[in-house]
Amino acid sequence: MSMEKQQETKQNSYWKSLDEKYQTPEFIEQAEKEFQTSPLKEDDDKSGLARRQFMKLMGASIALSSAACVRRPVQKIIPYNKRPSEVIPGIANYYASSVHDGREGFAVTVKTREGRPLFLAGNADYPGNAQGLSARGTSQLLSLYDPDRVRTPVINTQDPKKRGNNLPIPRDWESLDKKVVAQLAKGDIRILTGETSSPSLKNIMNKFSQNLGGQVHTWTPVNESDVLHAAELCFGKSAVPKYRYDKASMIVSIDGDFLGTYLNPTESSRLFAQNRNPDGNMSRLVSFQSVPSLTSFNSDDNWGIKPSQQLPLVLGLIHELAFVQKKVSAVGSIRSLTADYAKIYEDIGMTHEQFAELASELAQHQGDSIVIAGGLQTKTKDSVSLQIAVNYLNDLLSNNGATIQWSHGLNAHESMDQDFSDLLDAINDGKVKTLIINEINPMYNLPNSTEFKAALGKVEMVVTTNNWMDETANLADLVAPAGHAMENWGDNEFEPGLFTVQQPTIQPLHNTRSFGDSLMVWSKGAGKAVATEETFYDFVKNRWTSQLGGEKAWIDFLQKGFQGQTYEGTERSAGFNTSALNNISVQQTASPIELSLYTKVGMHDGTLANVSWMQELPDPVSKIVWDNYLVIAPSLADEKDLRDGSMVQVKTAQHEMTLPVYVSPGQNHGSVAVAIGYGRSKGGEILKNVGFNVQDFIVTDNTVFEHAGFAVEINKTGETYRLAQTQGHHNMEGRQLAVETTKKEYKKTNDIGLHKHKIFSIWNGHKYEGHKWGLGVDLNACTGCSACMVACQSENNIPVVGKKYVLGGREMHWIRIDRYYSGDEKKSVDAIFQPVMCQHCENAPCETVCPVLATVHSDEGLNDMVYNRCVGTRYCSNNCPYKVRRFNWFYYDGHHRKEPMHMALNPDVTVRTRGVMEKCTFCVQRIKEGKNAAKDQNRPLKDGDIKTACQSVCPTNAIVFGDLNDKESKVNKWFDSQRNYTLLEEFNAAPRVRYLAKIRNTPRELGGGHHDNGGHDSGHGETDHKEGH
């Protein structure tokens, strides 16, 4: 392998040169061997049998080594040929970049070691997501290293008559390009692309279609067609607004799950949390949900509704506000419509007082409230009407322009179902000869009824850039893998005027080429070059150099990672066009039971289905992993005699299938829902046989594809199915665990109504003179988004165990998010999230019982876990009242890490072998790194120098870590807060983790309080799924 040659050709960029040495897999391997030996070495032989052999040999070698001075096997050190100056083995480099998780775009900092990305966190300076990064964003890392990715360009050999029975043949780019170029000459080109926010790529795509005679269609399975249509009608401009939750004091969500899955949940969570300070300004969130979601669980009050009640509810609210309370003035013409729904509150179980109170609260907060609806759950027949009504309601409340920025909205929400339908029509009319599908998977995401497969058969050549041999790629003639975003150059504009750079942090692992590059090569081959530059990188760079004015500004852009600002001013009111109201019509008829499709926080539309972290991420709402299921209300379950895991026949007009049931409090009796994104059939090893494909329920006849409000029949089949749930019991049983109180109570008494215990010790205890680490968790800020879990998994090499073992109670997450319900589950419940990690107790019960001193205290108060000393008695786990310890029942990493997935392992954290206990270490490797950095710079450690992995991605800053001996540290202030409490204080393990109680901004009494100290027994025993086995 000639390095010189490669250097010559690649000497085009400062950044790319970083990865010079990683051109070849051999080199990656070599670097691995030198610096991070264990997982690779021991994995020499991939088969399970060999692994067992290894154990035997290991046993033997122990015997030998104690007998005499036996030599160990020879290891090799393989130095660089020429070490790139930026790479110092053992020292991490950080790069600013950006990723899009399929729902939301993020500016990120990527940590790399020896040239391989290891950890993603939000770019703290970026005004959008800031440090926050969603679970899906973090897991982009694992998707980069996915062993099932397409590794070369592929030519499918297929019989045109029998599409689908094809054999992928790996080819080189030249032969693929030749085929494409020849085909492009025929014209009639269409590009079907997913949501893209890259101005450069858009530019290239548009030029490409202009130059070669084509058209670009933008479509993603989870899109905002309804919002765009409604905006067009209401404001004359198709746009998706940005909601400013930080400026809103009153938020009403009608299935708008802005904290979990709708629009930009991470940024929204951040903004939302900013205005939820119990000691200062605290907004109020009321949720009406047809599917329980993070938003409904974080709300101060919530009501279960049916999809068919969404629009009537908004109309009813308008009626109450404008015509009953007369707090706002609406156009009179609408009265005839709204009057029909004046009593909608009865249908959803509210009293008129409650409804009127809600309306008057909104009226009080004119200009600083938000009414939001959206997401798949609202895509009923009336979705556009709903959006118009919501827009109108916001307009009446003067929110448009104030808390809802229409002119400074969100980018990358441009795709429309109409656009796709247009494409489909064009294909069916025979107007499309070449179809280029860019990184979307319509074959999976569309129902059979769309007959997309048949349409593909009518296209002469289908080219796709998908990175997996997924459902769509299998039907394509050519697969031109575009590679992962972390391998490619690019730029993004997630918000108008706020640009981020996407710089690669690793050379492409496989023989892939970015979509931009492909378009440039093809257009050039066809003689109609879209750009003068050689590569897409040059194009991006030139574009930005000229835009920013010079090379230096470009380098600054790369270092900073973004350009521009978010809009902070107040917009002029958007000018609601009341004629849009004429488009409101209520077509959705109420049915006894209505089905909605929804997206889950982890799985979204299914694009990350092959990322095991996402499959094993407990859904924040249900805590179920590796599955989707029909969410039904407890009362419906009683009525139909269903329990978690009962199989039911679900029948709509469109489709019929059997699904397992999950009984969720907070669900309306007449509403059932099932998540999309599961039941994938092709595209990797992990996604196979996971969950159920429910895409066939979608109705694609309308302008906006219908996802919700289907009249549905549910019949018990009598079979059962095992759902793997990581939390088995959802009721606090009257214990003082996740503490909450109402704002009213808190303001009055200035405390959180904690039952305190007298605690004493018979001796003085150890002193911690130097550092004394502590961690605070603010339950009021935590939304349960689960980003911390994946960040922890990524940082600490935590294995994924699979559904079978989660069922057996063997999930490995070091930080888990406990979710408890309180209140009457048959009506509406309050949910509370509580992240629990190792509490690093000063009187650690686990340490006392370990016979071999494998877990002991450090002089900084850390509860050290020494994997190599552990013999695995598991006594520590028994004696841990928080049950935060995890045991390696098998040699997980030996099983699961296929090449190149082992490259995602953090070399600073030991990979645990089988038979040892592990747990949260407060990211001790980061503590040491922070202390080392301070020592190198000859300065004392500053508060904030050290951030744990969970803290570093938390969008709402719900976790803070620091030195308790530092009086000024933030964590010390939290520990002194009135809201602070210790989990199981009376146990006197003296944890170094403290929680800040949640404050609910609601006028009512809480359903099940911690402060009534017992008695509250709203049993949710029926859904003890984990226990059911």
């Binding site: 000063e842 009187n843 019960p845 001193l853 205290h857 003296a990």
Partner: protein
Amino acid sequence: MAKRQSGVAGIWSDDEKILEAAAKMRDAGYKKFDAITPFPVHGMEEAVGIKRSGIPYVTFVAGVTGCCLGLYMQYWMSAVSWPINVGGKPMFSIPAFIPVTFEITILFAALFSVGAMFFLNGLPKVDPPIIDPDLTSHKFALWVPDDEVGYSVEKVEAFLKELGAEEVKRMAEY
């Protein structure tokens, strides 16, 4: 008692009779004779004239030693050699060290007692000569070694017969 001697043995088949015989023998001034029985015959010790065994002293000393050693070992390992903060407990956590101290006490006492018994009884012996195989089953013997006071084979033989021995054996080595 280790060295092998010649001597004379008389054999009985009834434990009560041999008990009487042994008493008479002692009364007759015999000092070093011994009884060989298949089971501990009640009263034989007095009859033969043996003092109470001294093993309890060994047991006591061993027990006390074990106790001190056990406690010291734990103290040294936990608080001196490498003091480690375990669960916020003092380095020298006396209550937690009691069980192991106790066990080591018992272990020392038991092993040293048995060791002392083996030592005092001269066990183990390799292939010792036997007077009669039935002496471990249903017969009883009085054994007079050659260093007995006023020992003479004939005299002892005669005396044993007089005492009612069913059989009298001369042993070259026992």
